[in-house]
Symmetry: C2
Subunit: 349 residues, 2 copies
DNA sequence: TTTTTTTGCGCAAACGATTGCGCGGGAGGT
DNA sequence: ACCTCCCGCGCAATCGTTTGCGCAAAAAAA
C-alpha cells in the first residue's frame, strides 16, 4: 500500500542504498552522479514518497520525538507551558507526544512507562510530584529528562521552576501589610514541592511579622477547582472567617470565585483574595485579581533548552533553574486597617 | 544498551518467537506450557523488559498513536477540546502526537505531512480552515481523518462542529432584542467555515429584523487577542461607534476587554459585549459575559468516537455531526431602548 | 510395533529504513 | 600490456518485533 524506499529505487532504476543516500542529502558525500540523483528525486516525487519514521527510528535509535506529561492540559498555566514547549521543540526538529495525568500518580507512572516504550528521545515532565521513583527508573535508561514546576529535590535532574517560597512569602507579606491577620491558605496537593514551599513561605512570612500561625487556616488538598470551591464554602461557615484567602493555583481561585459569588461575598470588601498563578483574564474580573505570576512561557522554553543541551553536550552537571515569580498587585486585596508601625507596607494604593 | 526480546528469550532459554507469544498474551493460543510461560515472564521481569513500540509498529503497521493538530493550545477553547481528546484516546489505548499550527496554514501543512511520516493511525484536525488540499492528500493514504470545529464542506469526512450560523444568529437576535442597531462584529479568519457561518448568521438576523446591514461594522481578520484589541480601538474612534460588540472568539474577547479597559469604556453601560466561546472565568468578569457556549468536551469526545468508528467499522458514510451551541445570558448586554413591538424579546431581565 | 495425532516450540521471513564494506570498470601512470 | 587508483554504486547486515509454517518428540490409536 504505502510506497517504500524500495519502490522509489526500482522506479529510478537504482538500489535502495543509493535512493536512501540521495534522499537523506548525502548524495555529494557518496559521490552520486547528478543524473542518478535526479532520477531518484524524480521517482520519489512521482510516487510521492514519504519516509517511514518508524523504520528510520528503529534503525537510527532516534525518534525525534519528545514526551511530555502534565497534570492538566486545560489548566491555563500548564496549557501555556506546553504550548511553548511545543513550539520550542518544533524549532529543534522534535515533535511531542503529550500525556495528561489528570493529577493522578498512577496515570503518571503508566504514561511515563508508555513513553519509554515509544522510545522518545527525551522527557519533559510536569510531575504530580508526590513521588519520583518512576523517574529514577527512567534515568537508568539513560534517556534525558527535565522536570518542570513541581521539581522536588530528591532527583539530581535538570529542572525549571519558580521560587515558590519567595512567591508565597511576598504574597503573604502583601496581605499582612494590608492589615490582614486571619489569612487562610487554600493549599494544593500536600507533599508536592511547590505546595510545601508555598506553605513554608506563608508560615515564615507570618512568623517574621509576629503573627501567630493558626494551622486551622491552612486547608485544602489539591490544585483543582473543586478544592477551592469546597474549602471556601467551609471557611465562610466559620465563626471567625478569615479576612483574606490565599489560593495557591488558578483553578483553586476559580473555585473560590464560584463559592464567593454563590454566597454573595464581595471581593475585596468582604474578603480579600490573592492567587498563585496569574491568568489572562485576571485583570478583567469583577475585582481585578492580585496574583503571583509565573513566567510560564519562559519555563517551557527553558525546559526544551535544558533537554537539547543534554542531547548535545552530554552529561554536564544537572542545572536546576529557579525563576523569580512576580507579585502583580491589582485590587483584590483590601486594606483592613493601617499597618502597625515598623512593618513593611507595600499594599495596593 | 536497551534490553530486547532476544535478551529475554536467551535468559529464559527459549526462542524469541516463544517469548513474543507469551508477552503478547498468546501463550494459551499457542499452547505454551505453563513452565515455559513462567520462565519467560520471570526473565522479562528480571530484565525489566519493555517492548519497543517502533519495532512493533513497523511490523504490525499500527502505532497506536493519533495525530492532533490545533491552531492554539493555549486558547482555552482548544485546550479543553484537546484535553478531552487525550483522555478519550487514552481510553481506547491510543496516545497523541500534538501539533500546534499557530493559525498558520503553512505550519499545518507541514505538521500534517510529518504526522503521516510518523505513521499515526488516525488524525484529528482542528484546521486553520482556509484550505483543505493537504487533507485530500491525506485521505489518499487511507488513514482515517476527523475534522473538528472549522470543518468546511468541500471534504466528505467525518466531522464535529457547532452550528455556528445558529449561534451567531441567536446572539445577534439577542442584541437586537435589547434594542441595539449598530452592532459591530469582530470576525475571525475570513474564509474559514466557522467565520463565514457566523457572519451569515449575523447578516441574516439583522435582515430578518429589518435592520440594514452596514458592512463597515464587520471588522477584523483573525481569531487572536490582538485582533480584538486593535479593532476595538478603531471602532471606538469612529464618529458613531457601535453600541454593541460581537466578538467571535474568546481570544478576541480578551483583546476587546483590554482595549475597553484602556479606554475607560464600561460594559455594558457604554457598550455591550457578546462573545462567541465561553470560558470558565466569564461569569466572574467585571461584567459577567453573555456568550455563545460551545460543548467543548463533547466535541473532543465525539472526535475520538468518529475516529475509532472508522478503525472498527470500516468505511460507513461520513458522519458530519453538528452540535447546538447555547447562548448563556449574563450581564454584558444592556437594553438600550424598549424593543419595538412585533420583535421577539429575549434579552436579559 | 507402527501409524496417527497432539503438544510445544523454533526457523526464518517479513516490516522499511540506514550504512560499512567492497566490487566492477574506466582513467591514468609506467 | 599491466598495475594502480578512483568513481559510482550495490550487497547484505542491522534495528526489534511478529507470525506463517513446519518439525521433532511425546502421547494416543491401531
Amino acid at each position: 500500500m504505502a510506497v517504500t524506499l524500495n519502490d522509489v529505487a526500482v522506479q529510478a532504476g537504482v538500489s535502495v542504498s543509493t535512493a536512501s543516500r540521495v534522499l537523506t542529502g548525502q548524495a555529494a558525500k557518496f559521490r552520486i552522479s547528478p543524473e542518478t540523483e535526479q532520477a531518484v528525486r524524480a521517482a520519489a516525487e512521482a510516487l510521492s514518497y514519504r519516509v517511514n519514521h518508524l523504520a528510520r527510528g528503529l534503525r537510527l535509535r532516534k525518534t525525534n520525538t519528545l514526551g511530555v506529561v502534565a497534570p492538566d492540559l486545560s489548566n491555563p498555566f500548564f496549557a501555556h507551558i506546553v504550548k511553548r514547549i511545543q513550539s520550542a521543540a518544533h524549532g529543534h526538529g522534535y515533535s511531542l507526544v503529550v500525556c495528561n495525568t489528570d493529577e493522578s500518580l498512577d496515570l503518571e507512572v503508566e504514561q511515563v512507562s508508555l513513553l519509554h516504550r515509544k522510545r522518545v528521545d527525551g522527557l519533559i515532565a510536569l510531575p504530580v510530584g508526590q513521588r519520583y521513583d518512576h523517574f529514577e527508573d527512567w534515568l537508568e535508561t539513560g534517556v534525558p529528562l527535565v522536570l518542570v514546576d513541581r521539581c522536588g529535590d530528591g532527583l539530581d535532574v535538570p529542572s525549571v521552576e519558580v521560587d515558590n517560597y519567595r512567591g508565597a512569602y511576598e504574597a503573604t507579606e502583601h496581605l499582612l501589610a494590608a492589615g490582614h491577620r486571619r489569612i487562610a491558605m487554600i493549599q494544593g496537593l500536600p507533599g508536592t514541592s511547590t505546595n510545601t514551599a508555598r506553605v513554608r513561605g506563608y508560615h515564615d512570612a507570618l512568623a517574621a511579622h509576629g503573627v501567630p500561625v493558626d494551622e486551622a487556616l491552612v486547608v485544602g488538598g489539591d490544585f483543582r477547582q473543586q478544592n477551592g470551591y469546597v474549602e471556601t464554602k467551609l471557611l465562610l461557615q466559620r465563626e471567625h472567617p478569615p479576612t483574606a484567602l490565599f489560593a495557591t493555583s488558578d483553578l483553586i481561585t476559580l473555585g473560590v470565585l464560584d463559592a464567593l459569588a454563590e454566597e454573595g461575598v464581595a471581593i475585596p470588601d468582604d474578603v480579600s483574595v490573592l492567587s498563585f498563578d496569574d491568568f489572562d483574564f485576571a485583570p478583567h474580573l469583577r475585582c481585578p485579581l492580585t496574583a503571583v505570576r509565573q513566567p510560564r512561557e519562559m519555563m517551557g522554553e527553558l525546559a526544551v533548552k535544558l533537554l537539547v543541551e543534554q542531547f548535545d553536550g552530554g552529561a554536564r552537571e544537572a542545572r536546576r533553574i529557579v525563576l523569580r515569580p512576580r507579585l502583580v498587585v491589582r485590587e483584590s486585596v483590601a486594606v483592613v486597617r493601617p499597618a502597625p508601625a515598623g512593618e513593611r507596607v507595600d499594599a495596593a494604593p
